[in-house]
Symmetry: C2
Subunit: 356 residues, 2 copies
């Protein structure tokens, strides 16, 4: 039996979208392909409220995270670190030989503008890399406020945002906030299978890349830019994902972006209220993620045992990640998941654990 | 109407395989996923006649080509260059700041062992990068002989092979020949959609990587190696491609590898004989590709015009690539394409062009 995915990625994919993954193949240098890419790109721009270039990378988001440090950092980067995925970004920067200044907060806490300010004061940073929604801790960082502070005080420092588990579930106003890069994979709030990442790049970020040597090739933003004019991708892309994304974007607009974001807000409220009643929330109050909730396992339940029971009902949730593996558990409420489905899941958990 | 793809990638994908691309989603850290990866990996090892590690990269093959130069070259690489795709590999090496010695032959010619020998004599090369089957010119380089020469004369130099358009269509004996890396994407002779690359890495290549700094992350072979023991991929992979690959490998073994390679040989013979009769072959005699044929456009036909007519019959072929764009055309005969389908295509072309 298929288990409906309430794990924070990959998320559940609707049968209709799975079907689009099997669209008959076309050549990636054909007119049909350029038409497809020419259709889907402005749709993602619309989702991100941006006029910036939006590129498609056949990779997981991690690949684009690597692209960010290779394109936008010649010497020194500020890596904001508040959980497993932001830690990985710092490691990636180091693996590429970049001087990596780390701003670290305790897991469960948010990165606040004044913390970033404190670090940037020391000077020398070319780019700040930060995770919007830390999938390990369920914390949503106040990106808008960080961006605002940077615009006022450090207008020359670039800001790159990993929005992997927030994009398409939460409003991200790339142009309004002033994000230089905003990236995500399709397997979270887009509710599509993993295998493709999308990312916006500001003009000034492209200008910066021109000055950074040894950007490589596969994630070189300027190579993506070069193929933009031909409405092509630099290398053979995952065409199935582009077919599905094109259809999924239409469905998103049919629901309405504001309605979609509101639905995510409603689900988050239900997930938090349930958590406060029966467990505790892992995230610092006021900075809880809208797309997933991380619960402190105050009852010391066996998450594996719970999942065994849930499997019989056709659902699966997630344990903690990294150092919270045993101490927390996570429920994703994003993508095409509905409030009814979330309520049904929470009802099952109540029943299994004997909560009321 | 869908046009059956006789272009050298993406190739035609059978409806059954398209359906597997839409298999309901599972988590990439689940037991189900490890089972899937644990099933498919030995199947690819069997195809490559190797006991080496075989990794799956969610990227086009170009990404793994970048991985090769980042992992196996600290200072200097010998890039064998005989067409558009081998040229790209040399460019990638340079884009990563590696000293790139180029062995260049005229388009249409093959790279011969004595040419590689001549270059390696000068010393200082850590790795040779070479394309097995140059998709632009339709030349198949004698990799086995190059590897043999290197084993005898330069046992410490690594050999990395781009087998993008030959793997799964032609026998490649990774262990027998002694290839340190052998890489390909799924969208050629595997007859699956693009979006995933597979590659083997020898133990000595992994040892070499340990000594090369700044390998990055996404294509770091040692990161792939680290996750091998957990039967996982380092980052969220394209699960749909793995589902389809697992099924496609079964079908390959059902046909029989030797039978599959023989079928490719038969199709190549038909494609060449037809070409010699009506046009001319672009590749140096004796080094013609087994998976695609590049024809010199001796009749100065309009390939676009031909494709318009073929489209009405539900098929598409390819023009030349790069500098042969107008002067050549290409027909792929690989993957799940049958001899009957190829004969039907050539019959249509005869009819359209009035050949007999």
């Amino acid at each position: 039996m298929h288990k409906k995915l309430f794990i924070p990625g990959p998320t559940e994919v609707r049968p209709e979208m799975l079907k689009h993954m099997g669209t008959p193949m076309i050549g990636h240098r054909s007119k049909e392909f350029s038409q497809l890419l020419g259709e889907v790109t402005p749709k993602v721009q619309k989702l991100l409220y941006t006029k910036d270039h939006v590129f498609m990378s056949t990779s997981s988001s991690t690949g684009v995270m690597e692209g960010v440090v290779r394109n936008l950092v010649e010497k020194k980067v500020l890596a904001c670190y508040c959980g497993a995925f932001s830690e990985r970004w710092a490691e990636i920067a180091e693996a590429n030989g970049k001087e990596t200044d780390r701003l670290e907060v305790e897991w469960g806490r948010a990165i606040l503008p004044e913390m970033v300010d404190e670090k940037l004061k020391k000077g020398g940073h070319e780019t700040v890399i930060i995770v919007h929604n830390e999938t390990s801790t369920g914390v949503m960082n106040p990106i808008r406020e960080v961006a605002q502070m940077m615009k006022e005080k450090y207008p020359d420092v670039l800001l790159a945002v990993d929005a992997v588990s927030s994009m398409a579930g939460v409003k991200i106003d790339v142009d309004g906030w002033g994000l230089d890069v905003c990236l995500a994979g399709l397997q979270k709030a887009f509710a599509l299978p993993p295998g493709l990442a999308v990312f916006s790049v500001s003009d000034r970020a492209l200008e910066k890349a021109k000055k950074v040597p040894h950007r490589g090739y596969y994630f070189d933003f300027l190579v993506f830019r070069k193929y933009w004019d031909k409405v092509q991708t630099p290398t053979t892309p995952s065409i199935p994902h582009l077919f599905a994304l094109n259809k999924q974007m239409d469905d998103m607009f049919r629901e309405g972006l504001e309605q979609r974001f509101a639905r995510h807000g409603q689900m988050a409220k239900v997930a938090r209220d349930w958590g406060k009643k029966h467990f505790a929330l892992y995230a610092q109050p006021g900075y809880e993620s809208v797309t997933l909730t991380t619960y402190v396992n105050t009852r010391e339940i066996s998450v594996a045992g719970l999942n065994e029971e849930l499997a019989k009902r056709g659902a699966v949730i997630s344990n903690g990640y990294g150092k919270t593996k045993e101490k927390a558990f996570r429920i994703a409420h994003m993508g095409d998941t509905t409030l009814d489905e979330l309520n049904e899941l929470l009802g099952w958990i109540d029943e299994i654990l004997g909560l009321s």
